[in-house]
Subunit: 181 residues, 2 copies
DNA sequence: GGGTGCAGTGCAACTAGTTGCATAGGTATG
DNA sequence: CATACCTATGCAACTAGTTGCACTGCACCC
């Protein structure tokens, strides 16, 4: 329902091919709306058929042709329409929570190792986000418009990762002192 | 891939019908693994066919019969197997982040109202979680085993909501002072 | 007495997302 | 020199999840 709109936002910022969009999703938007290249290609075609996008074939030498997509007037209209309507609450799907809840039915030490592994992954991602924050937005107080919004979205990512890492630490500490007591 | 396992965890704690499970998901597990009653019914049938569950038909008067599901030995084996294997990273799908990122392309005031609305919803949920925390786990330091894990999962929910609310506040404040400047 | 809501199951049709593969030449790496 | 990865697109087959509906009967409210 909203991958279309995530693509509209991304393509309005800058035109691009399906492949390129998939890369962008891997990095920024994808943290809030994950998508594979397959999904993106399919939706791009559908959006083209609906008249929300136009595309230009660009020949390249040494590598395959690419289709660079741009948002049409109809696409911009659709985006403004969507921006004014209420959005569904966020959906979280976290197998680690399920696992933790069932930990006493299996190998608790293995579950603890899983928590540690996830902590490490999220800590890495947090460092990446913090790097972007200090590199791209050194003076957050002076931001306006699009840049301000990009900064605020990034702040959401930073906060989410911080809180996930802190939660892992709480879990690790509690499970360790349980095991040794 | 893991709704099966979420159901196994829930049914191991206590046997129940599809309807009942759907209710439980609405409250607790569902925060980490959302599922509708339809999805649950379908997966329950599949799990029964795979031999992970057994069910007993229970006649009730005044209301329809129900099928109470229990985890079989094969189901318990599957659960312990799953608990020992690595779990996929959490997936977040948040339209609000997408919207915020595109805010300057539409009605910014409407987006701001959306952020405020989401803040209110998450604040309510946070209060619910905190209520459960102080009612069911007044002395967290003395917890062990299953109870400890349930508490830790709840702590994850509390932390996630706290950080979401704090993020909304940051966004609201930044957008308001931008608009008035 | 009519509407709403709950308990309980389920089908059917749909949309969304995943996984595996195919193609093809370029550029790095061991 | 072979292997593997990057750019670039896409089909086909699958699994997961959503939405709308249908049936029954009780309980509650106005």
């Amino acid at each position: 329902m909203a991958l279309e709109h995530a693509i509209l936002v991304s393509l309005t910022e800058r035109a691009g091919s399906g492949y390129e969009l998939a890369r962008r999703f891997d990095r920024s938007i994808g943290y809030f709306w994950p998508a594979t290249h397959q999904q993106i290609y399919r939706v791009l075609r559908r959006m083209g058929e609906a008249g929300w996008l136009t595309h230009t074939d660009i020949a390249q030498d040494g590598r395959p042709d690419k289709k660079v997509y741009e948002v049409s007037t109809a696409g911009r209209d659709e985006l403004t329409r969507w921006l004014a309507e209420p959005v569904d609450p966020a959906i979280l799907r976290d197998g680690l929570g399920v696992k933790l809840r069932g930990a006493s039915l299996g190998d608790e030490a293995a579950v603890l190792r899983e928590v540690e592994r996830h902590r490490a992954e999220h800590a890495t991602r947090l460092e990446v986000y913090r790097g972007i924050q200090s590199r791209d937005f050194p003076k957050p107080d002076s931001l306006n418009g699009r840049e301000l919004h990009q900064y605020l979205v990034l702040r959401g990512g930073v906060r989410a990762e911080e809180s996930f890492v802190a939660w892992c630490d709480e879990v690790i500490q509690a499970m360790r002192s349980e095991r040794t007591s």
